[in-house]
Symmetry: none
Subunit: 155 residues, 2 copies
Amino acid sequence: MSKLSNAIESFIKKMLQNTENQTLEIRRNELADYFSCAPSQINYVLSTRFSIHKGYYVESRRGGGGYIRITKISIDEDDLLHTIFRIIGNSISQSKSEDIIERLREEEVISDREGEIMKAAVNKKNLNLPVAARDKIRANILKAMIACLMRQKSE
Amino acid sequence: MSKLSNAIESFIKKMLQNTENQTLEIRRNELADYFSCAPSQINYVLSTRFSIHKGYYVESRRGGGGYIRITKISIDEDDLLHTIFRIIGNSISQSKSEDIIERLREEEVISDREGEIMKAAVNKKNLNLPVAARDKIRANILKAMIACLMRQKSE
DNA sequence: TACTTTGACTATCTTTGACTTTCAAATATT
DNA sequence: AATATTTGAAAGTCAAAGATAGTCAAAGTA
């Protein structure tokens, strides 16, 4: 029975529901202790159940006072951002990126200035790499920025 | 329980806010006594929380009557952007990038949302590369975004 | 086969303490 | 009186130990 991961998943989701701002902080080792499992089990659950695609944003910090912070992003399936996120996939050219950013601007999801910042970030001049690698990294950056917009929206 | 560094950080920042000219002098040993910690803890806090990236300038003097003087740097936006540009150089870590972005936000050069977008762009999760290459590309991205802010301003 | 669990190893952040350097005031020397 | 030396009071440095979290691959399970 692979109940462990499921149990941890529900536990975290329940905790999340009891928060005001959709944000929860945990101590990895505490949680692992609570479930009597390896600490890395927590990472497994986070990466399989709380990924950005599933609508969660995870930050963390190591060392004394370290933590893992989980934020729920409200995603609605026919949301423009969500669609765009899918369209990007795992590789994208500069010009397509710019088209997407332009579109976001037209739809007034982002301001002019935000658009300029985002375009600057995906410019190929920054990414001094073979084209294939460059397009992958660009996709990551663009998706990260858009995920961030989704997060902002739900706050 | 790594509240110590955070506590010392807030304490100093609160003290700074109560000064007229953004400058504060402390006695290292006194402060260490106050927090019941090793004096070198103060140095740790200074170097991690009051770095040049975060917009602070720290001077000190040893010997009898020694002191540590902490100054919050305040310069006009144009200089700030140029200075930051220089500080970035051609390679920078994620955490230093975040410090810089945080500072831009504090100085109200960028909005909260713009800050989040910029942080998303420099996150290491996007840059699946060896550290050295990653830090170079991050520097490019960050500088490109900042250059974009300068352009915006002059328009 | 695909998903889950574990554990060894790594990376990062914090705290502490032993040792070093610098400075100003007091004291000694010329 | 002027200069040199000593002393004690700061602050600085650095490496080790402690506290977390991350990664990855091997082993287990459905």
